[in-house]
């Protein structure tokens, strides 16, 4: 589904990604774990075209999308829920969801998808006319995921959905991520510092350190790995 091959990404002269390769198969939940500043967000932004890599390639469903403008990449079936959620602060919940479906014209299907996200997150339905910037952190995260779903992606990139949320809300959101994967068949690429939670729902994982992938394995193997345990699982 998604194949990232040896990408190098820079911010000015600072190199953030030093040759990252990874692969996500159709229908999988894959997680990428790493400490602060490891380059997790940069990896997602490179894939989405916001910070295009200086070298290397990103292949989505057999098509080379390296260097394509971000809005084109969205049309190819990939959406991202960025770090910090990035809700349009002055738009209402409904307007935010409407922006998620910006490229779509299939009105009937859109209505059904709206029903679906309201079913996933009933609280959003109650708050549909509230201004996005005034939602709580958890609600914003729900809205961010819903907005991404409104684009009807075949692959969904999620950047630290657990960030700053209470454990109970995190549980709920991770439950929904699994549900989206099962019910919609959406492939999930999840970036997390909360390695515990992420590895629990993922099929496989990658460990990122200073812009390099240092480890990859099945989730169960990573959870059993001594180094991973010590560095990321806090046990």
């Amino acid at each position: 589904m998604l194949k990232v091959d040896n990408i190098h990404t820079y911010y000015g002269n600072i190199q953030a990604l030093k040759g990252i390769s990874l692969e996500v198969n159709k229908g999988e939940i894959i997680c990428l774990i790493g400490a602060n500043g490891a380059g997790k967000s940069t990896t997602l932004m490179s894939i989405s075209g916001i910070e295009p890599p200086r070298s290397g390639t990103v292949i989505l469903e057999g098509i080379d999308i390296t260097g394509m403008p971000p809005h084109k990449i969205v049309t190819m079936g990939m959406s991202q829920v960025p770090e910090g959620r990035r809700i349009f602060p002055q738009l209402t919940v409904l307007e935010n969801l409407d922006m998620g479906a910006y490229l779509r014209t299939d009105k009937e299907e859109m209505k059904r998808d709206l029903e679906y996200v309201f079913e996933l997150f009933p609280i959003l339905s109650q708050r549909r006319h509230q201004i996005g910037g005034t939602l709580s952190g958890g609600e914003q995260q729900m809205l961010a995921i819903s907005r991404a779903l409104m684009a009807k992606p075949r692959i969904l990139l999620l950047d630290e959905p657990s960030l700053g949320l209470a454990p109970l809300i995190v549980q709920q959101i991770f439950g929904i991520i699994v549900r989206i994967n099962k019910e919609q068949g959406t492939t999930i690429f999840l970036v997390e510092q909360n390695a515990n939670m992420a590895l629990k729902i993922a099929d496989r994982g990658y460990v990122l350190q200073n812009g390099i992938i240092v480890k990859t394995d099945t989730s169960s193997a990573l959870m059993a790995d001594e180094e991973v345990k010590n560095a990321y699982l806090g046990v």
């Binding site: 809005h71 990035r86 602060p89 490229l103």
Partner: protein, 301 residues
């Protein structure tokens, strides 16, 4: 009383023109956080386009003045939008990722280039502009408080405001503009081509400035290459006054400024007319630094 009302009308007229220019400043700022210093020049180019096209049509055809007015207005909108978009492409787009100061300097450069380009192509003299706005028969010159031109300026401004409000609130491009102004990265992640949005914003801002330019030329009866400079600065002041980035703010700021200038000139001294703008600006920014309608971002992280 009559004098007072005349000052109000003069203030509304001035405010209308400022608003037509300030809209472009505030929209461009809202989208790319650039103070487009050359925006006043776009207004000036609108006036010159109408002068040239209108002049040619007056000489070569027997068309009624109203028809000529509409044709030259359309031409002015078209050319100004073209200049605005081209300017964005050559002077600002390559600097999208550069520090903001760099783009600002590029804008000042663009302003000088356009002024001197018109100076060379025309002359530095004021050129007479024959008004193409016919008199409304229900207004008796010398008796009525308001002149036809004033009325046309105010009505046009209201129509432009309504049009813009509908555009921004209800159209797809309007939604894209709002999203882009709130979060450029996120806008791209939902599939918005922000380059298109930016181009469109420059086109619309330039078009409204051109309308202002054509109206003021008809009102004043003469133009030269320099008219965009002071008008541009005043409109910029109005936009800051209202809270730069806010469209209703730009309109409100423009009318506050127009009124202040009109009353300042009428009751205090017309010699200081141009200084009132800055006095008002300083007072309001001391009281409310974000401008009259500027918001302190409601953004929860």
């Amino acid at each position: 009383m009559k004098y007072f009302l005349q000052l109000v009308l003069a203030g509304l007229t001035k405010g209308s023109i400022y608003a037509l220019i300030a809209l472009g400043y505030t929209m461009v700022y809202g989208i790319i956080k650039l103070i487009n210093f050359a925006h006043g020049e776009i207004y000036m180019i609108g006036a010159f386009t109408a002068l040239i096209i209108g002049g040619v049509l007056q000489i070569t055809t027997g068309l009624p003045p109203v028809t000529i007015l509409f044709i030259s207005l359309a031409a002015a909108i078209f050319f100004s939008a073209g200049y605005g978009v081209t300017m964005e492409n050559i002077a600002y787009k390559p600097l999208r990722k550069a520090p903001r100061l760099t783009a600002l300097i590029s804008a000042i450069g663009m302003s000088l280039v356009l002024q001197n380009y018109v100076l060379l192509a025309q002359t530095s003299d004021f050129l007479p502009f024959r008004s193409m706005i016919p008199n409304f028969s229900f207004l008796i010159p010398g008796k009525s408080l308001v002149t036809t031109t004033q009325l046309v300026i105010m009505i046009t401004t209201v129509v432009v405001m309504i049009f813009l409000t509908i555009l921004i609130k209800f159209t797809r491009m309007g939604k894209a503009m709002r999203a882009t102004s709130q979060d450029k990265v996120m806008a791209q992640l939902v599939g918005i081509d922000i380059n298109k949005v930016i181009t469109f914003t420059f086109a619309i801002g330039s078009a409204t400035a051109a309308i202002g330019g054509v109206l003021i030329a008809n009102h004043m009866g003469q133009i030269n290459f320099y008219i965009g400079f002071l008008a541009g600065i005043k409109a910029f002041v109005a936009a800051v006054l209202g809270g730069i980035g806010s469209i209703p703010g730009a309109v409100l700021g423009s009318f506050v400024l127009g009124m202040a200038e009109s009353f300042g000139a009428g009751y205090i001294s017309s010699a200081y007319e141009d200084a009132f703008a800055f006095v008002i600006l300083i007072i309001i920014l001391i009281i409310k630094p974000s401008g009259l309608m500027g918001r302190n971002e409601i953004e929860k992280v």
